[in-house]
Each structure stands twice: as C-alpha cells, then as structure tokens.
Point group: D2
Chain length 377, copies 4
C-alpha cells in the first residue's frame, strides 16, 4: 500500500507549472512508495490561483501561504515564488515541520540562504533546492563519467548561460512576468537567475571554488516598472563574467548574459581533463559530447552521445532509444529522486546547504564585480 | 461546463503508454471543451492490464475488447495493438458508433485498410490514424512553410527511417516485444512500421505519389519465434528502398532499414524546392533546417531553427523559448487536435482515408519489390 | 639526382587548373624521385592557352593536341577537356607511348571507355582516371577502416551528390562554361558528372555492383545553346536516383541532382556495417563521422574525426593537427601517388580499367532509367 | 611588364613553410603587378637551409641573416624565427630600407614592439605582422558584416584558442620544435602565441580594449630543456583567461590553453550585437555562423554560411561554390593583399603598429594575471 505525499504549492507561475507537471507525471513513469497528492496551491490572485488549481488538479487554492504552511495534512511545501519571499516561507515551513522544495536561487544572498539552511537542518527534514538541470540525463551522465575518473585530472571547467530576451529597452521590470529584472524581487540579475545554475553544476561536478574574479554590466540603465508605471533605474546585472580557481587546481570560466542575440537559453558547460573532455548544451539537451584520448589515434574524435538508451540515466523509464525527452523531464526526475530519498533515507541534492554554497559563490562574484578584486571563498 | 470524452484503450504496450500519457497531460496544457476520462484498458493478460490501469488511472481493466467496444459509456476507442487485429476491432467499433484513434499502419494491407475506412465513413464519426510525427512542432512548421509557398516548385522529396536494433540474429520474432519482426502480426517489416511514417508525411506535405519502384531485403533469414520456441523463416522486409514520382512532378527517394548501425530512430526528411529547401530529423526533433535562396548572397546559409518559440506551432502551450519538448508531445498534440476537432467540426488528419492512401503506397512498394517493376498507383 | 616528368596538358579550363596546381605544388610537400615539368598546354584559343601557360609556368602553348601527343619530350599526357574528346586523345596518346591521366568520366559510354582501356593496357604504361575524391584524407581513411574490417559485414552503402546551380532556366547549355549541360559534349548529365564520383568510391570501398534500378528526370526541357544561340532540347539527365545490389550482399542507394536548393557540391556517403558505420560529406571534407558499436554503451556515439593529425592519410605532409586542407589537395595527393607509383612499379587507381567499370555502372543506370527495368551488370 | 619582388626569408621552420608556399602560389591565383622571387633563405643549420632552398626554389641559402638584410637585391625581409630575435632583425632590416613581413607576436613585449614599430615607420616602408587569420574568407566576411552595421551595437565579444598538445609532462621545452614552451625564446606562452591572434581579430573587428583582468596558470611546472638536457622550471603561461571592456561599451571574454583535451587548434570567436550575432571557429574554417534577428520569427535561426561562393571574400580566385580551401590559403591571401598594397599605396594590416597595440594588450593581460588587478590600457 502506497503512502501519500501531500503537497502544498506556493506560487502559480512558470516554475509552479513545471513542478506541478512533475508531480502529475512522476507516478506514471517511476515506481514509488508514495503517491503525490496535490492538496493546495497558493497565489496572490484568488481567481488565478483557483484556475491553476483546476488545471493541475489541486484540491483547493488560497491566497495566504501561512495557511498552507499551517495545514497539518500537508507534508511538503513547494516554494515557486520570487526570490525575495523564499526565506520567510521556507523558515516558517521548516518550523512547521514540513519538507521543502525551493526554487533557485535559494535566497537573495548567502546570509539569508544560511538562515534558511540552518532552519531546515534544525528541523531535520528533507529539503531540496530545485537545481533541475542536474537531472537532465546527459548532465547526469557527465557527472557519472567524471566521478568514474574517465576524465582524469581536470584542467578546465567552462560554463555559459546565454539569453537574448532583454535586449529591447521596452521590456519592463517588476510584476508577474518580469520580476526577474527587478533587483528588489530577484536580488540580482543573471548571476542569481542563470549563473546559479552554472555554479551549482560546477560545484557538483568539479568540487569547491576557492576564489573568483568577476565583471558585471547593466546595458539598459532604466526600465519602466510595471508596478509603479514609472521609469526606474535597473538594479540588476544584465551580464556577468567571472573566472575562478577550484580546489582541485582547475580553472573556471563562466559567463551569463541576456544580450546574446540568437541564444534563447543556451546553458553550456565543457570540462577538459587529462584523459578526456565532455561538453553539453541545453539547446540540444539530449546529447553529450565526449572526447576520449584513449581511443585509437586514427579514429579519435568528439562523440556525440544521443543520451536516449535504456542504460543512460533515467532513460529506462521513458521510451525507446532515439526518442528524446525534454526540459520538463528534469523536474519529473527531481520529483522521483526526492520521493525515492524518502524511502531510502539517502539525502539527494541539491540540498539547501548545497544551494547555500552556490549562493556564497554568487555573492563573491557580485562582490568581486563591485570591488574589481579577487574574492576568496 | 466541460463535456467528458470517455476513452477505451485496447492494448497496454508501448503505444498504449504514449497515448495514455497524452490523455493524462493534454488538459494541463491545452484549453479544451472536453475532459478526457480514462475508462477502460484492455489487454491479453489480466494482471498486466490491471497494473496498466492502476498506473495510468483507468477506471477498470479487461481482457476482452468486445466488452470495451460494447460499453455504452465509452465514446472513443484507441487501438494500440499489433497490426493484424486493427481491422476487426476498428470495424466493430465503427459499427458500435465509437470514435476511433488507431495506431499505424492502419492495416495489414490496403484492402483491409479500405474496409476499415469505409466502416468509419459509414459510421460518420471522427477517426484518426496515429501518424504522430505530423505534430512534432518542427514538422508542422515544415508543412506550414510548404503550404505558404516558401519553397516554390518542389523538385525533390527525400526521407529515411534508419534503425539498428535487429542486426543481431539473436533478436527473436513474435511475442509482445518483437511482434514487429513477425510477418503474421506486422504484415510487413520496415515498410509498414517505418516507411509508413515517411509516406504519410510525404503525402501530407508534397501530395500524391503516382508510381513507385522498390527493393527490399531480409538480411537475417531465420529467427527464433518467441511463441513457438523454434527457428522460423523471417517473413518481413528488414530493409526497403524505393524511389517514386509525385503528381506535382517532383521525385521521391525513400529508405528504411533496421541495419543502419549507429542510428536508433533516425527519421529524416528533406524537401528541395525552387526557392528554398528544408530538412528535419527525429534525433534532433526540435530543430528544422531551412535554406532560403532569397537571403542575400553573402549571408545565405542553412538556418537551424530551434523550434521552441511561442509563435512556433504548439509551442505557446509549453515552456519558454529555448526549452525543448520531446517525442511524447507529438501524441499530446494529436490528442489536443482531435478534441478540438470535436468542438470545431473540422476534420483533422491523418484520417483513416489518409492512412488508406499511405497503405496503398506501402502495398505498391512491396509489390514493386517483389516484381522488380514500377508500380502505378 | 631526380628524373624529370614532362607533362603535356590538354585543356585550360577548371580541371586543367586543378591539375596544374597539383604539379606546381607536389614537390614542395612530397619527396619524389621525379621533378614534374610543365612543358606544354594545349587549348582551342591560342591567346587563352598562352595566358594559361604564363600563369602556370608551362614552357609553351599550342592549339593542336596532336602536336603535344607527338612531342617526343613529353612523358605524360593530361586530358582535361570535355568528355566527348577524351577517347580520341587518349587512344592516340597511348599509341604514342605516353602515360595518361584523364579526367572523369573516362568516356561518353562504356564501349568507348573499353576502347580506351584496351589501348592503354596494350601500351603497358601507367594510366589514371582522375577520381580525385579518393584522395581526400577523410575518404582515404574511410577506405582504410573498411579494409581493416572495422565495419564488419556491410549492409548499406548510400551516396548523394547534390548541387543547385542549374535551377534557373536561364542557365544555357554548351560552350566553355556550360558544356556539362550539353549531351553531345558531356554524354550524360549528373550521372557521368557526379554519380560517376559516387560510383567510383562505392566500387573502391565496397566492391562490385551486380544490378541497378534507376530513375532520371530532366526538369528544364529546353535551354539556349551558347554555340548556336538557339533554344534547344536538353538531352542530359538533371537528376538521377538509383538503388542497387553489391556482390557482398549490401544494398546501395544513390542520388544526384542539380536541383537541390542550398547544396553546392554536397557529395556524401555513408556505410553501415555490422560493427560500425561511417559517413562523410564534401562540404566538411576534413571530417569523418564514425560510429563504433564496440564502444561502451554509456558513451557510444558518432565520433566526428577531424582528419588533420599526422597519422591520418597524407596529413604528415601538410601542417599541424587542427589545420585543415581543402579540395585542391586531393589533386596534389593524386599527383604524388601517381609519381610514387612510377618509382615503386605498383599500380595506383583509379586506373582506366577501374573507370571503365564505373562507366559500365553509369551505362546500366541510364539504361535502367530508360527501360524502367532492373539492369544486371 | 611585371616588376619583381625579391624576397629574403629568415627562418626555415613551420612558418617559413607557410610563407614560402604563399609566395609560390599567389601568382597562380591572383593577378599582381609584381612577380615574387624567392632569393635567399637563412637559417642556423647550413644543410637544412640549403634543403629548404631546394624544396621551395630559393636561389640560395645562408646561415647569416645580416647577409640577407645587407643584400641590395632583396626588397622584402620575411621574419619567421622565434620571437626573441624578431626585434634585432626587424630593426636592422628597416634601417637597411627593406619592406618587412614579421611573424606574430611582433616581439617579446610591447616596449620592444614599439621600438620595431618606430623603426619601420621611420623607414617609411611597407610592414606587416602576420596575423594570417584575418584572411580566412569567413573571418574577413565577419569583419565586413560588422563594418556594414549588420550587428548593430555590439554587446559581447568572446574568443577562445584551445589546444591540447602540451598535456603530457614529457613534452620538452626549447629547441627547434618546442621553443614555444621556452620563456626565453617565446616571451610568453599561450598569451603571445595564441591569444595574440584572438586579440588582433578583436581589435580589428570590435575596436580598442580599455581595460583587462586576467588569470594565468602553468600546469606543468618543470620540463626538460632540449638544449641543456636538464629539467628546468617552465616560465610560460600554459593557460590564460581574461575578460575586458572595449571602448564601444561591449564586454570581452577570452581564453586560451594548451590543456583542452580534444581540441587541436580550436580558435573561436563569437560576436553578439543588438541586431545580429556571428560565430566562427578554425576547425571548420570555411563556415561562418550568422543569426539575423530581422529574419521572420517563424524561420529565424543560426545560419551556417559555407563561405565558398564567388562573391565571398577571396573566393572568386579559387574553385567553385561548395569546394573548400584551407588554412594555408590565409597566407596566400596575405601575400596577395601585401603585393596589391604596393601597387595601390593603400596600407594593409596588421601593420607593425597594429601588432604593437595587440602586444600592449598581451602585456596588460600578463601584468593583470601577475598582480591580480584590473589593468588599464
């Protein structure tokens, strides 16, 4: 007999859709000891919250997140709201004894992230920061190959996250659709929104970063604020580049921008090791590029692995070789791994503490960009 | 108030999964006038059928398809079983006044397909053959560009469907997993299983074929039959190549095989027109290649369109630009289009008649391969 | 002390440039026992022939090829003129005891090719048909991998040669620049001009073809003849598709057209074997795609081999790894191999007899297209 | 009547080969007012110098470069020797009234580069630093598109130069083949050898850099010195990453390493502008990627331009569309442009002054890496 996992969702935006979809689907594809049940969705606008509940099958909706956190029936709080309200909700949920899955970046800054981390650790309950890209099969495979030592000593780690959606100065800031451009809601720009993903994967795959040196730029200095209707200074970083040193001696180079015309969500990473290299990008997320120096010289070359075989991570749960899955499946895998961790008792990441480490790097990056100096971690 | 659409699923194999998943998801992403309800799933093994029902949320399971067809509550019969039992079920379902969605190829041969087509047309109810690839956004976009005249006069249509899963002579024939290698169950080999997809898209995008000339081969002559346990002659075509002439004056070249080492499900097509060309393949299904001769000479080149923008077919229902969807979404789109056609009264294809036309081409191909002669349609 | 190899060039068009360039360069990059000396160039227009001689360093020019063939000092006759005058020159040169390198296709048809072949074989002197693509390093590497058995049993051989330069009906036929569209000068259209290359590589890499089945089309029925100034029927094939069976049991699929918008010179081949597959195309001629099933399942994928390492065929003679060479180098390699064969006494292909075999396939293809029947070889 | 251009070549290594080849070929493909004549080659070893002279057609050889510089007949001195002897030769040649083409980087540092620049400017004679990649047709096309304003305001300039040939600690330093690893001969490691190319293109395409921030690393700390036979500390940078700001407000990100397993000579650049973006890499040097936001939304995508058409830069001098040229042709184009500048009187770059500007950036990069601070230019 399966146990139920009762879920309270805070938020009804883009991320709430990806998470709700994951819960709706995970049981069709993974054999779990728990049945996820969508109990309550919470959002600012009552009608929209109720429409979301109808669409996704939540038993009810509300506009007050305290009510969800206080609900005895709910086991797991999902936090899918702007960054500036993560901490308050997460800490309350932890104190109420709830498991938590929180969207990234965990907080506005590392100090806040640490508070949240300490709260969930004090509660002693499962907690997860939604760094979903870890669970794209090709990305998971990359991690596996690195952990197996297939690359040998690592020399270089390189990652980009390139977009182009804010090039026009007519794009506003603030509000439901564009809170990511509003420093008050988002904390930072591309650093927290996009580089956080790059950093999470880097720490996971390549270990700790010990020092960073960064540059940021805000290309459009003023944007209309949707909430005030006025032109206001833009407080976020439109672009951020940094290089760094990892504890393992390798060098990192990271860049993110929303001004790279032609790239929609081009998250890439490449790792160069003594024995082998690998590379991936989100636009062709089902492929992993792999170069193995051990291959015979005549036929050595970059392999493009179509990560759709049954023996590839997660793929035995889906279709047949050659048939790709997409972006949303990373959230299904996250949901599956989270639920399986409840059964196994084995922690899965990214935990809040992992996310706090990422936030420390983000803070160091922004501090370095501001001071023009190297910052040690 | 939404109407319900009660569904009876015949089959619990691979295709039953893709279709069930489509029904479970379509309402989350498309605003429809009907709520799909999974009523009954039917399959040979009672325990497996019930497990399937549990997993996908069917209200009940059965081992007798007649019972499903006779069920007054059921509006729509889904046929996801081996090809040799399509006709019997479809004709009974039509006579019982059910809407039908049937997996492809529609039948074992064109004569049978015609009987089925006449049955559903006599019933006057919506019917669809599941040529799901029409509804990959990049494929739909290709159709749209052709229909807009962007390619001008068409000279060439080229399509392949390459796999490699039957190279080993240890792969058996017959049974649940390998009925596609058994001529009795499948009717033909790659022609009906794979080229049928190529032909459906070709007829849809480029119009009627008037003559074909084909070659087939069976590389492995004997395989163990799972059901009898004996080595038996292989009756299917392992590989099939044909060229043809379309009514519009263009030339076609088609090939399919399960002996193309390195290709899992490499369905490709390319269309060359006077003004422009386009190309697509299933391994990178979210991209469409497009060459427009009208581009200035200095910067003319094949464009790789990442078909993930809101204005691309179907994509406004999913995530944001740059984030790919996968194979299974073609079935969700098919379900959405089918349900919307119930509201609009506008027929959507591939209808049974469309599928009959495809089957006529398949028959002509096999006949030509057998006779070594051109066959007119 | 090096010997000299005195060369008489018949023709001053595109191919005469590629061959002259080869002779000018080969000694800089290959250590040869012979010094090639450009003695005479011959062409219809005296002024143009002399300009060509000046540019490329020929000692003199003439308008009478008989004079070149009769010249006692000349060792090697290069035939780089339209196809319809290959035979006459080649037979005369053979009778005069000259070595010969002749552009492809060898002749207007197989009967003529056989006469030429018999003439050079009677003379017992080195002879070569200029199927230059054999000597693109990636193509040579493909041959080497096949010969080593890396692919195992071959199932499929596929080749295309796609161009788009004759789509406009304003392109004329006949004359210096467009004799390839004039059946009298060219013999055939894409079959002799382009498919001959595909067939030569196929026979070389995959062995004999025993039967073919073909379709041809002439899309533009009339073109102005440059020489007569009148619109005249087009006698060549604009497009040709054929499939075939090889002696080794594998299936072939070939296509060529000059109506594939967006492709300039897209010569491609792909070979699928039991153990491995490989693929190549002329637009990225320095790469070979290779899929090896023996690679571990997790990291199996198509490798893109950048064929620029010192151990790759011919590449030790050029630059350093990563630095590509181009189209013209295939002719330099041909010149080098030819000269080295003079030293070693080992025949190098494609010989006239090899080219005769290719011409037999071309004839069979055209005959099949005409009759609509399979043609055995 | 053509004038002669008498050339004295200092060096007989890799670069002397590329330059000699350029002079041997340029007249075959470009109509020039001057006939280049290879007069003298100079190198340390008399036998090797003479062998080089024989191979490439130099009238004579010598071991004393002063003799070449003093030779009244010589018009142009080519400097293709290790970086530490560029300055002495160049200054002497300038004082002797010779035109000069010098390999890059121009000097060991900017101070030395300035001396050389002042010397050639005082002499008032044509001078060129051999930044050959400017003259790859796809790179020249990129420059042309930027200059036409096709990209609009530039936001980002990104360039890498990745190699992997020094990963093994068995690779020695010093000597003829590996002087690039010896700080005394090379001045720096990847910064002068590889990033100099990236910086030259960046300054040419995107204008001046005003500040840089860099990190370098030496992964292998000791290597055997070929000349002394002893293990010695490695003084060069094995890897270098820097970001920067351009005068036009755009941000730069540059990286080079010889420890990127799988990359032989992967020189890449990408430019992101308001209206369009473009990207290129040396491994597929005949292609330019171009994304034009002005393309209609449905069919917008990265174009891969096969830069082989007659209207593309330099390509009318070579073969026909679709047929690629290679690395060495950049030197032929450089020779052609240099000679044409003698006729036209119009200076072509990179001049010594351009190369001095590149060297200033290199110095700033190394200084920043050393100090850990931003360095202004």
């Amino acid at each position: 007999m399966k146990k139920t996992l009762n879920i309270g969702m805070i938020g009804y935006g883009f991320m709430a859709r990806t998470h709700s979809n994951a819960w709706r689907r995970v049981g069709n594809f993974f054999d779990l000891d728990y049945t996820p049940v969508l109990k309550t969705v919470c959002g600012l606008d009552a009608a929209e919250a109720e429409a979301f509940a109808q669409r996704w099958g939540y038993a009810k909706s509300t506009t007050d997140w305290h009510e969800v956190v206080a609900d005895k029936e709910i086991d797991l709080i999902e936090i899918c709201v702007p960054n500036n309200i993560h901490a308050e909700i997460a800490i309350a949920a932890a104190q109420a004894g709830k498991m938590i899955i929180c969207e990234k970046p965990l907080a506005l800054d590392a100090a806040q992230a640490l508070q949240m981390t300490e709260a969930v650790e004090a509660a002693g309950l499962p907690n997860l920061a939604s760094f979903n890209y870890r669970r794209i099969p090709a990305v998971t495979l990359a991690k596996q190959l690195i952990d197996e030592g297939r690359l040998g000593k690592i020399f270089h780690y390189r990652a980009n996250f390139l977009q182009d959606w804010t090039i026009s100065s007519d794009v506003p800031q603030g509000g439901m659709a564009t809170w990511r451009l509003d420093a008050k809601a988002a904390g930072s720009g591309v650093t927290g929104d996009l580089l956080a993903h790059c950093i999470d994967l880097a720490l996971w795959q390549n270990g700790a970063i010990n020092s960073v040196n960064a540059m940021t730029e805000t290309f459009v200095k003023e944007r209309k604020n949707v909430e005030t209707g006025k032109m206001e200074p833009v407080g976020i970083d439109d672009a951020c580049t940094f290089f760094c040193r990892f504890d393992n001696g390798s060098l990192g180079n990271f860049e993110s921008t929303r001004y790279a015309r032609g790239h929609k969500a081009l998250f890439t990473f490449e790792v160069n090791g003594e024995k082998a290299s690998l590379a991936w990008d989100l636009h062709d997320l089902h492929r992993l590029a792999f170069f193995d120096h051990a291959d015979g010289g005549l036929t050595r070359g970059w392999r493009t692995i179509h990560v759709t075989d049954g023996e590839h991570p997660y793929m035995s749960h889906w279709w047949v070789p050659g048939l790709a899955i997409g972006y949303e499946h990373s959230f299904v895998h996250q949901a599956a791994d989270f639920v399986m961790s409840l059964s196994s008792g084995k922690t899965v990441g990214a935990t809040f503490r992992d996310a706090y480490e990422t936030q420390r790097v983000c803070d160091a990056v922004l501090q370095s960009a501001s001071s023009g100096q190297w910052v040690n971690l």
